[in-house]
Amino acid sequence: MVAEKKKSPVKKNQPAYSKEQYLQWYELMLRIRRFEERALVAYGQQKVRGFCHVYIGQEAVAAGIESALKPGDAIVTAYRQHGTAIGRGVTTQAAMSELFGKATGIVKGKGGSMHFFLAENKYFGGNGIVGAQIPIGTGIALAEKYKGTDNLCVTMFGDGAARQGALYESFNMAMTWKLPVLYIVENNGYAMGTSVARTSNVQELYKIGNAFDMPSEPVDGMNPESVHEAVSRAAEHIRAGKGPYFLEINTYRYKGHSVSDPARYRSKDEVEEYKGKDPVKTTEEKILRLGLATEAEIQEIKDAIKAEIEAAVKFAEESPYPDASELYTDNYTQKDYPFIRD
């Protein structure tokens, strides 16, 4: 069923949210954007290795989710996770250092681009196996219900992951057991080179929820306001004990799937169309139009973020690699585990 949509209170020349809220969204989105751009440069210099999937174009999703949650809520997502993690409070310094594979990274150089975790903010990580986090997020939600909290777990995944069997099993159990889980598919149109259209007859992904009578709706993901609104509404439903909710947040990745993907499967026009709706740009325009900040104040934010990201790179560069002996830590909680060492 499509959840009933409230009429948006947004009027053209009147802010629907506080000045602080707009600035917070703007700052977070810009921080993610600049972080990702700088990460790509570092990748080009071979300072970042392996897989690197950036979030450029999708920033409004992370921003709108974070502002709608409360402390205690959890998030788990896939490998395209730098933006989500930064939104959760992973510092750009710890994130950049992780990309560089340094001991000062968010997981001490053990995870790299795909696997950030931050237990203190209930960030349950970036998962590299497509769809694996869907049941995991469902289980995180089960634990919240079990413990009697009113926390929920935002379980994020891509449009490609929506075709994994684990989704259907999870949706069914979450709905049957009324678990406090908010499923969010970030529909950026493609799973690597495969468009959503080529993977199923059901192309409006929110409709998958219908088979489980799960409230489900599509959301404009190029705008933090619409994401925030939808997540707030869903969170209210979930916290009322009514069980899971499913949002299809429609967004777009400007870059290839990963650094090595030239993205020949889509047209320039399509990319340009989305860039026209760029969330960082349109939010900045809105802030200025509504007089929530001056050009000078916006410039200050830009300068501060630029300096922050450069400092993060410097920190990453100057940090040491983890010692090779760290290969043997964190495999078991047992400290004297007898590894085979021959």
Binding site: G109, I129, Q164, G193, Y265, A324, L327, F339, I340
Partner: protein, 328 residues
């Protein structure tokens, strides 16, 4: 006549030749058609064979592996590509519980002629979930055959044999070596499953390896030769069935064996070889069978971890000198 071909081109030639020869052979997997394969192994195949025989699947490993099994039971010869074997873990139910058991369960009424293929093993700084070697997992299962070979000529001949074989076969490739080139014969040929290849002859020590660990192994043999140590190098090519005879014959000559295996040590391929050699060549051994494996850990991202984790020529040379009692 031979020409140089990369591993990816050799594998493609095998599939293309078999698909031209046999209408029932088809390829299925993520990104195999329109994207030409995540690692371009199936480049151009959609164009030649069309979408009926080169099929892009959604990301649904358990589902499309099972669809492959059903199609195989019903008269087709599917080649199921996994983008990497790490993702095939989702499909292990179908591989282990169905592909491997169909013949036995049906008392021979149904066979399952299917090839599951894709890259196995580490491929640089890809971290824990994307760096695993699955040869020993799969070779543990009766009913499956397991090929793991990166020499382009042999990989081509083995994949052709696998496609023609009536049993389910797992073909383990290497992401890092898809671009690796070597001589490949022109024309039609097959390489038999279950037969190892001696890549280098020697008298002092036998080195056994497979897949991309053949490269540091051969490099070590070269370095050892400079020091006057003559190593015989065996490329297993097939893990199950294991060609133990070739290893036994070699050990009878050299009296020493070092196994170089990217699998984890516990119950890995090297453990199986060490068992069989102590059983069948006990009297010929002048030193304990020694092995160089990946570290007994998950593989983290940092370059220091990758370096520590993998076998390399230095580690192999050291092990050889140990079994020769040159160093302790």
């Amino acid at each position: 006549m031979a020409r140089k071909l990369s591993l990816r081109d050799a594998l493609r030639e095998a599939m293309v030749e078999e698909m031209r020869r046999d209408e029932t052979v088809f390829l299925m997997g993520e990104e195999v058609a329109e994207y030409d394969g995540a690692y371009k192994v199936s480049k151009g195949m959609l164009e030649e064979f069309g979408p009926k025989r080169v099929i892009d699947t959604p990301i649904a490993e358990l589902g499309f592996a099972g669809i492959g099994v059903g199609a195989a039971m019903n008269g087709l010869r599917p080649i199921v590509e996994f983008m990497t074997w790490n993702f095939a873990v989702l499909a292990f139910d179908q591989i282990v519980n169905n592909a491997a058991k169909t013949l036995s369960q049906s008392a021979g009424q149904f066979k399952c002629p299917i090839v599951f293929r894709g890259p196995s093993g580490s491929a640089g700084q890809l971290a824990q979930q994307h760096s695993q070697m699955f040869e020993s997992w799969l070779a543990n299962v009766p009913g499956l055959k397991v090929i793991s070979c990166t020499d382009p000529a042999d990989a081509k001949g083995l994949l052709k044999s696998a496609i023609r074989d009536d049993d389910p076969i797992c073909v383990m490739e290497s992401e890092l070596l898809y671009g690796y080139e070597d001589e490949v014969p022109e024309g039609e040929y097959l390489v038999p499953i279950g037969v190892a290849a001696v890549r280098r002859y020697g008298d002092d020590v036998t080195l056994v390896s497979f897949n991309k660990m053949m490269l540091p192994t051969l490099k070590a043999a070269e370095e050892l030769a400079k020091e006057g140590i003559s190593a015989e190098v065996i490329d297993l090519r097939t893990i199950r069935p294991l060609d133990i005879d070739t290893i036994v014959e070699s050990v009878k000559k050299t009296n020493r064996l070092v196994v170089i295996d990217e699998s984890w040590p516990f119950a890995g391929v090297s453990a199986e070889i060490a068992y069989r050699i102590q059983k069948y060549a006990f009297d010929y051994l002048d030193a304990p069978v020694t092995r160089i494996n990946a570290a007994d850990t998950s593989l983290g991202y940092a370059p220091t971890f990758v370096e520590e984790y993998l076998p390399n020529p230095e580690k192999i040379i050291r092990a050889v000198k140990e079994v020769l009692y040159v160093v302790r």
